[in-house]
Amino acid sequence: MIRRLLEFCISRSLDDGTPLPGWLHAIAQRDARLRGFADQTSQLDAALRKSAAQHRQSMNADEWANNRVSNTANNTVADTAADRGAW
Protein backbone atom coordinates (compact mmCIF):
# COMPACT_ATOMS: atom_id res chain seq x y z
CA MET A 1 0.00 0.00 0.00
CA ILE A 2 2.73 2.42 1.03
CA ARG A 3 4.85 1.33 -1.93
CA ARG A 4 1.95 2.02 -4.30
CA LEU A 5 1.62 5.48 -2.86
CA LEU A 6 5.34 6.09 -3.29
CA GLU A 7 5.17 4.82 -6.87
CA PHE A 8 2.39 7.32 -7.49
CA CYS A 9 4.63 10.06 -6.07
CA ILE A 10 7.42 9.01 -8.45
CA SER A 11 4.98 9.10 -11.35
CA ARG A 12 3.81 12.52 -10.21
CA SER A 13 7.36 13.87 -10.44
CA LEU A 14 7.57 12.59 -14.00
CA ASP A 15 4.25 14.29 -14.84
CA ASP A 16 5.64 17.60 -13.69
CA GLY A 17 9.11 17.04 -15.15
CA THR A 18 10.69 17.64 -11.77
CA PRO A 19 13.37 15.55 -10.01
CA LEU A 20 12.34 13.28 -7.16
CA PRO A 21 12.17 15.04 -3.81
CA GLY A 22 15.12 14.20 -1.53
CA TRP A 23 13.11 12.10 0.89
CA LEU A 24 11.59 10.03 -1.91
CA HIS A 25 14.93 9.57 -3.61
CA ALA A 26 16.40 8.34 -0.32
CA ILE A 27 13.58 5.81 0.16
CA ALA A 28 13.86 4.65 -3.45
CA GLN A 29 17.57 4.03 -2.99
CA ARG A 30 16.88 1.76 -0.04
CA ASP A 31 13.99 -0.18 -1.51
CA ALA A 32 14.98 -2.38 -4.47
CA ARG A 33 11.45 -2.69 -5.91
CA LEU A 34 10.83 1.02 -5.68
CA ARG A 35 14.22 1.74 -7.22
CA GLY A 36 13.35 -0.68 -10.02
CA PHE A 37 10.09 1.14 -10.66
CA ALA A 38 11.82 4.53 -10.62
CA ASP A 39 14.49 3.35 -13.09
CA GLN A 40 11.97 1.69 -15.38
CA THR A 41 9.58 4.64 -15.51
CA SER A 42 12.45 7.05 -15.97
CA GLN A 43 13.66 5.07 -19.00
CA LEU A 44 10.11 4.94 -20.30
CA ASP A 45 9.79 8.69 -19.82
CA ALA A 46 12.93 9.31 -21.90
CA ALA A 47 11.81 6.85 -24.61
CA LEU A 48 8.33 8.38 -24.86
CA ARG A 49 9.75 11.89 -25.02
CA LYS A 50 12.17 10.93 -27.79
CA SER A 51 9.56 9.02 -29.76
CA ALA A 52 7.02 11.83 -29.43
CA ALA A 53 9.55 14.34 -30.75
CA GLN A 54 10.20 12.10 -33.77
CA HIS A 55 6.47 11.85 -34.43
CA ARG A 56 6.02 15.58 -34.28
CA GLN A 57 8.77 15.96 -36.87
CA SER A 58 7.38 13.33 -39.20
CA MET A 59 3.77 14.45 -39.06
CA ASN A 60 4.13 16.45 -42.26
CA ALA A 61 4.73 13.16 -44.09
CA ASP A 62 0.96 12.65 -44.14
CA GLU A 63 0.62 15.89 -46.03
CA TRP A 64 -1.69 14.62 -48.75
CA ALA A 65 -4.30 13.51 -46.26
CA ASN A 66 -3.84 16.60 -44.13
CA ASN A 67 -4.31 18.91 -47.06
CA ARG A 68 -7.57 17.13 -47.91
CA VAL A 69 -8.91 17.86 -44.42
CA SER A 70 -7.53 21.38 -44.41
CA ASN A 71 -8.90 22.26 -47.85
CA THR A 72 -12.38 21.00 -47.00
CA ALA A 73 -12.33 22.94 -43.73
CA ASN A 74 -10.99 26.06 -45.39
CA ASN A 75 -13.60 25.94 -48.14
CA THR A 76 -16.42 25.54 -45.65
CA VAL A 77 -15.00 28.31 -43.49
CA ALA A 78 -14.73 30.58 -46.52
CA ASP A 79 -18.37 29.87 -47.38
CA THR A 80 -19.43 30.54 -43.80
CA ALA A 81 -17.46 33.76 -43.72
CA ALA A 82 -18.92 34.86 -47.05
CA ASP A 83 -22.42 34.19 -45.72
CA ARG A 84 -21.66 36.32 -42.70
CA GLY A 85 -20.10 38.99 -44.87
CA ALA A 86 -17.05 38.94 -42.68
CA TRP A 87 -14.45 39.05 -45.43
Partner: protein
Protein backbone atom coordinates in the same frame (compact mmCIF):
# COMPACT_ATOMS: atom_id res chain seq x y z
CA UNK B 1 -1.02 40.03 -29.00
CA UNK B 2 -1.61 43.78 -28.95
CA UNK B 3 -3.20 46.09 -31.52
CA UNK B 4 0.08 47.44 -32.80
CA UNK B 5 1.27 44.01 -33.84
CA UNK B 6 -2.01 43.49 -35.63
CA UNK B 7 -1.77 46.84 -37.31
CA UNK B 8 1.73 46.21 -38.60
CA UNK B 9 0.82 42.59 -39.16
CA UNK B 10 3.02 39.60 -38.68
CA UNK B 11 4.61 39.35 -42.11
CA UNK B 12 5.60 35.77 -41.64
CA UNK B 13 2.65 33.73 -40.40
CA UNK B 14 4.85 30.67 -40.14
CA UNK B 15 6.76 32.36 -37.34
CA UNK B 16 3.64 33.30 -35.37
CA UNK B 17 2.61 31.20 -32.40
CA UNK B 18 -0.71 29.37 -32.41
CA UNK B 19 -1.99 31.75 -29.76
CA UNK B 20 -1.11 34.74 -31.97
CA UNK B 21 -2.75 33.13 -34.97
CA UNK B 22 -5.91 32.40 -32.96
CA UNK B 23 -5.95 36.03 -31.84
CA UNK B 24 -5.73 37.16 -35.45
CA UNK B 25 -8.53 34.78 -36.47
CA UNK B 26 -10.65 36.32 -33.73
CA UNK B 27 -10.19 39.63 -35.50
CA UNK B 28 -11.14 38.24 -38.90
CA UNK B 29 -7.88 37.21 -40.57
CA UNK B 30 -8.55 34.34 -42.98
CA UNK B 31 -4.88 33.68 -43.78
CA UNK B 32 -4.23 33.07 -40.12
CA UNK B 33 -6.97 30.45 -40.01
CA UNK B 34 -5.49 28.70 -43.05
CA UNK B 35 -2.08 28.65 -41.37
CA UNK B 36 -3.58 27.50 -38.10
CA UNK B 37 -5.56 24.71 -39.79
CA UNK B 38 -2.46 23.46 -41.60
CA UNK B 39 -0.56 23.26 -38.35
CA UNK B 40 -3.32 21.62 -36.38
CA UNK B 41 -4.55 18.94 -38.75
CA UNK B 42 -1.64 16.46 -38.53
CA UNK B 43 -1.76 16.69 -34.76
CA UNK B 44 -5.51 16.21 -34.71
CA UNK B 45 -5.37 13.27 -37.11
CA UNK B 46 -2.63 11.61 -35.09
CA UNK B 47 -4.76 11.59 -31.94
CA UNK B 48 -8.17 11.09 -33.53
CA UNK B 49 -7.11 8.12 -35.63
CA UNK B 50 -6.11 6.35 -32.45
CA UNK B 51 -9.23 7.40 -30.57
CA UNK B 52 -11.64 6.43 -33.32
CA UNK B 53 -9.82 3.50 -34.87
CA UNK B 54 -10.63 4.44 -38.46
CA UNK B 55 -8.76 6.92 -40.61
CA UNK B 56 -11.88 8.12 -42.42
CA UNK B 57 -13.65 8.81 -39.11
CA UNK B 58 -10.59 10.70 -37.93
CA UNK B 59 -10.63 12.82 -41.07
CA UNK B 60 -14.34 13.61 -40.59
CA UNK B 61 -13.85 14.56 -36.96
CA UNK B 62 -10.75 16.63 -37.77
CA UNK B 63 -12.78 18.60 -40.31
CA UNK B 64 -15.63 19.11 -37.87
CA UNK B 65 -13.15 20.18 -35.19
CA UNK B 66 -11.55 22.79 -37.43
CA UNK B 67 -14.97 24.17 -38.29
CA UNK B 68 -15.94 24.22 -34.61
CA UNK B 69 -12.68 26.03 -33.83
CA UNK B 70 -13.55 28.66 -36.42
CA UNK B 71 -17.10 29.08 -35.14
CA UNK B 72 -16.12 29.26 -31.48
CA UNK B 73 -12.82 31.11 -31.80
CA UNK B 74 -14.32 34.13 -30.02
CA UNK B 75 -14.58 31.97 -26.87
CA UNK B 76 -10.86 31.19 -26.82
CA UNK B 77 -8.96 32.97 -24.04
CA UNK B 78 -5.76 34.22 -25.68
CA UNK B 79 -4.00 34.36 -22.31
CA UNK B 80 -4.03 30.57 -22.20
CA UNK B 81 -2.36 27.92 -24.36
CA UNK B 82 -4.21 26.99 -27.51
CA UNK B 83 -3.55 23.23 -27.46
CA UNK B 84 -5.79 22.31 -24.47
CA UNK B 85 -8.66 24.33 -25.91
CA UNK B 86 -8.25 22.65 -29.29
CA UNK B 87 -8.11 19.12 -27.91
CA UNK B 88 -11.04 19.73 -25.58
CA UNK B 89 -13.10 20.53 -28.69
CA UNK B 90 -11.65 17.68 -30.75
CA UNK B 91 -12.29 15.03 -28.11
CA UNK B 92 -15.83 16.28 -27.54
CA UNK B 93 -16.53 16.17 -31.29
CA UNK B 94 -15.02 12.67 -31.39
CA UNK B 95 -17.31 11.53 -28.57
CA UNK B 96 -20.36 12.97 -30.36
CA UNK B 97 -19.29 11.30 -33.59
CA UNK B 98 -18.85 7.96 -31.86
CA UNK B 99 -22.22 8.29 -30.11
CA UNK B 100 -24.03 9.14 -33.35
CA UNK B 101 -22.54 6.09 -35.04
CA UNK B 102 -24.03 3.91 -32.34
CA UNK B 103 -27.53 5.36 -32.56
CA UNK B 104 -30.26 2.95 -33.72
CA UNK B 105 -31.56 3.27 -37.25
CA UNK B 106 -34.85 5.08 -37.85
CA UNK B 107 -36.30 2.22 -39.89
CA UNK B 108 -37.37 0.48 -36.70
CA UNK B 109 -35.91 -2.81 -37.82
CA UNK B 110 -33.13 -4.48 -35.98
CA UNK B 111 -30.00 -4.20 -38.04
CA UNK B 112 -26.73 -5.97 -37.66
CA UNK B 113 -23.88 -3.54 -38.14
CA UNK B 114 -20.55 -5.16 -38.54
CA UNK B 115 -17.58 -2.84 -38.69
CA UNK B 116 -15.05 -3.97 -41.23
CA UNK B 117 -12.07 -4.82 -39.06
CA UNK B 118 -9.68 -4.65 -41.98
CA UNK B 119 -7.72 -1.43 -42.21
CA UNK B 120 -8.07 0.67 -45.34
CA UNK B 121 -5.06 0.72 -47.70
CA UNK B 122 -4.10 4.15 -46.34
CA UNK B 123 -4.35 2.97 -42.77
CA UNK B 124 -2.44 -0.20 -43.59
CA UNK B 125 0.36 1.83 -45.15
CA UNK B 126 0.58 4.16 -42.17
CA UNK B 127 0.41 1.27 -39.71
CA UNK B 128 3.19 -0.53 -41.51
CA UNK B 129 5.33 2.58 -41.36
CA UNK B 130 4.82 2.86 -37.64
CA UNK B 131 4.78 -0.79 -36.73
CA UNK B 132 7.99 -0.55 -34.74
CA UNK B 133 7.00 2.51 -32.81
CA UNK B 134 6.61 2.93 -29.07
CA UNK B 135 3.38 4.89 -29.47
CA UNK B 136 1.87 2.11 -31.56
CA UNK B 137 2.75 -0.32 -28.81
CA UNK B 138 1.16 2.05 -26.29
CA UNK B 139 -1.94 2.24 -28.47
CA UNK B 140 -2.21 -1.54 -28.42
CA UNK B 141 -1.93 -2.04 -24.69
CA UNK B 142 -3.36 1.14 -23.14
CA UNK B 143 -6.92 2.33 -22.81
CA UNK B 144 -7.84 5.24 -25.13
CA UNK B 145 -7.88 7.84 -22.34
CA UNK B 146 -4.56 6.59 -20.97
CA UNK B 147 -2.97 6.79 -24.41
CA UNK B 148 -4.42 10.24 -25.05
CA UNK B 149 -3.26 11.60 -21.67
CA UNK B 150 0.22 10.24 -22.32
CA UNK B 151 0.36 11.77 -25.80
CA UNK B 152 -0.93 15.14 -24.62
CA UNK B 153 1.82 15.15 -21.99
CA UNK B 154 4.72 14.09 -24.21
CA UNK B 155 3.55 14.96 -27.71
CA UNK B 156 1.69 18.18 -27.04
CA UNK B 157 3.70 19.29 -24.01
CA UNK B 158 0.56 19.99 -21.99
CA UNK B 159 0.60 20.25 -18.22
CA UNK B 160 -1.53 17.95 -16.08
CA UNK B 161 -4.05 20.73 -15.58
CA UNK B 162 -4.26 21.34 -19.33
CA UNK B 163 -4.71 17.62 -20.01
CA UNK B 164 -7.52 17.64 -17.47
CA UNK B 165 -9.17 20.41 -19.47
CA UNK B 166 -8.69 18.53 -22.74
CA UNK B 167 -10.09 15.28 -21.38
CA UNK B 168 -12.77 16.94 -19.26
CA UNK B 169 -11.46 15.27 -16.09
CA UNK B 170 -9.95 16.39 -12.82
CA UNK B 171 -6.19 16.81 -12.41
CA UNK B 172 -6.06 13.92 -9.92
CA UNK B 173 -7.87 11.67 -12.35
CA UNK B 174 -5.34 12.58 -15.07
CA UNK B 175 -2.43 11.80 -12.74
CA UNK B 176 -3.97 8.41 -12.02
CA UNK B 177 -4.40 7.80 -15.77
CA UNK B 178 -0.76 8.67 -16.42
CA UNK B 179 0.46 6.56 -13.52
CA UNK B 180 -1.50 3.51 -14.66
CA UNK B 181 -0.36 4.03 -18.24
CA UNK B 182 3.28 4.04 -17.13
CA UNK B 183 2.81 1.00 -14.93
CA UNK B 184 1.24 -0.90 -17.84
CA UNK B 185 3.78 0.22 -20.40
CA UNK B 186 7.02 0.07 -18.38
CA UNK B 187 7.34 -3.75 -18.23
CA UNK B 188 7.07 -3.88 -22.04
CA UNK B 189 9.85 -1.38 -22.59
CA UNK B 190 12.66 -3.95 -22.51
CA UNK B 191 10.74 -6.21 -24.89
CA UNK B 192 10.12 -3.25 -27.16
CA UNK B 193 13.77 -2.16 -27.12
CA UNK B 194 14.70 -5.70 -28.13
CA UNK B 195 12.20 -5.66 -30.99
CA UNK B 196 13.32 -2.19 -32.00
CA UNK B 197 16.98 -3.23 -32.22
CA UNK B 198 16.02 -6.21 -34.37
CA UNK B 199 14.77 -4.57 -37.56
CA UNK B 200 13.14 -7.76 -38.85
CA UNK B 201 10.82 -8.04 -35.87
CA UNK B 202 7.47 -6.35 -36.16
CA UNK B 203 5.94 -5.54 -32.78
CA UNK B 204 2.45 -5.79 -34.23
CA UNK B 205 3.02 -9.53 -34.51
CA UNK B 206 4.13 -9.84 -30.90
CA UNK B 207 1.85 -10.75 -28.07
CA UNK B 208 1.83 -7.50 -26.10
CA UNK B 209 -1.81 -6.86 -25.68
CA UNK B 210 -5.21 -8.27 -25.01
CA UNK B 211 -6.81 -10.06 -27.97
CA UNK B 212 -8.31 -7.75 -30.54
CA UNK B 213 -12.06 -7.47 -30.23
CA UNK B 214 -14.35 -6.73 -33.10
CA UNK B 215 -17.37 -4.68 -32.26
CA UNK B 216 -20.67 -6.03 -33.45
CA UNK B 217 -23.38 -3.54 -32.67
CA UNK B 218 -27.02 -4.50 -32.93
CA UNK B 219 -29.25 -1.52 -33.46
CA UNK B 220 -32.67 -2.01 -32.01
CA UNK B 221 -35.85 -0.15 -32.55
Amino acid sequence: MNDSSLATGITNLHAASEEDLACRVQRGCDDSFTELAQRLQPRLLFVLRRRLGHYTDAEDVAQKTLLRVFEKIHLYDTAKNFSPWLFAIALRVATDHHRKKQLPTTSGEAELVVEDPRPSPTQEFLDQERSNDLWTLAERILKPDQWTALWLLYGEGQTVREIAQSLNRTSVSVRVLLHRARKTLAPHLAKFAEADSNQTTDITSMDFAQPTTYHVARAES
